[in-house]
Amino acid sequence: MPRWGMVIDLDRCTGCAACEVACKSENNVATASPDQAAMGRAISWMKVMTEVHGEFPDNRLRFVPRPCMHCDNPPCVKVCPVAATYISPEGIVGQIYPRCIGCRYCANACPYTVKYFNWYEPTWPASERAHLNPDVSVRPKGVIEKCTFCHHRLQKAREDARAEGRELRESDYQPACAEVCPTQAIVFGDLDNVRHRVNELRHDPRAMRLMEDLGTAPKVYYLTPRQ
């Protein structure tokens, strides 16, 4: 059984935020108004965090794209009172929206702050409404949502593979962020499969995970920048 994970090379990331845009467009994430964003209620499953090093003019900006870490030991799953968030056998931390009661325990439990509450009914400008992705449900107001590693793509890819009577290939299932990254900083695949690139990259000496000391065992690895 695969164990889906991601490796993000911080040396390659230019902070273009194409992953953020692709994610929002793929997953029907509504745009927030400036007022809502000021209250910290904007939703961004994939977020490019910035880090400033040094003082002007000798400063450097570093970027850290942050999706859901899909922890092997997810704190959000432990606190969910209705099993709306759970970890699948393939390691994807799923969110089942019709089950979610919006208690926001998980959002508070997540050390990476990747779980977002829908404070408002999602709205889009009229020009964008026709472009919503039919493969992803639009979340109603009052539920939590999060990065799902674009698992709707896995559903389709697996079906295609079965219809054609073959095994699932690495290229069949790639989340939108990995697909769109112009510098290929985001690599996605089965962490346990030796034929997948992520397996090789996660054993790189530069590989590290965010807040590893918490014991969450994230499945998103970062390759630290070379100095």
């Binding site: 929206y97 449900s137 698992h151 079965r162």
Partner: protein, 180 residues
């Protein structure tokens, strides 16, 4: 005074059930009306006779529901599909005459969907009919034997029905395999 109060109270109590009854009757009538309204369900432009087509004429479901093996939706027949046979008048029924009229006038024939899939469910006919070779009857009941289009689904398919079948046949019961 005491006795007068008692008499009034007794009269009140006597009257109350009647009042309550009136209110209850009003609620029942209103509720009944709304129920009847809800029971109208789905109506079709043509009273399509499934039995005639699938039993008497031995047509395959796929003949009209063209994408049942290859698509997410099985598809509802367009006027062109009806026109394959109904270009000329077929049979003696009034509905067959109406179909021919539709064809002759080139008026679009739009059938209404009977089964509605919730937006958060990933389901494709290809996976279930094309790959797993399930019978239509498993989820749609004996719709092929109906003589008039049903206003409501003959079988109510909920998550319980999906899970029961998935468990019985050893298929995945992982939430994200079907929820999206």
């Amino acid at each position: 005074m005491n006795s007068r109060w008692l008499a009034e109270r007794a009269a009140q109590l006597k009257r109350r059930p009647r009042l309550l009854g009136l209110v209850a009757a009003a609620i029942l009538v209103a509720g009944g009306a709304s129920l009847v309204a809800g029971q109208r369900g789905v109506s079709q432009p043509i009273a399509f006779n499934h039995r005639k087509h699938t039993q008497d004429l031995q047509l395959d479901c796929e003949f009209c529901h063209q994408y049942v093996r290859t698509g997410a939706h099985s598809g509802l027949p367009s006027l062109e599909v009806c026109a394959m046979c109904h270009q000329a008048r077929q049979g003696t029924s009034r509905e067959a005459e109406r179909v021919t009229a539709f064809v002759e006038q080139g008026r679009p024939l739009v059938f209404a969907k009977l089964f509605q899939l919730p937006a958060h469910v990933f389901y494709t006919h290809r996976r279930h009919v094309g790959i797993a070779q399930l019978e239509c009857r498993n989820c749609h009941g004996d719709i092929a034997l109906t003589t008039r289009p049903p206003r409501r689904p003959l079988v109510r398919v909920g998550m319980r029905a999906c899970l029961n079948c998935h468990r019985r046949t050893g298929q995945t019961t992982d939430c994200v395999a079907c929820h999206r």
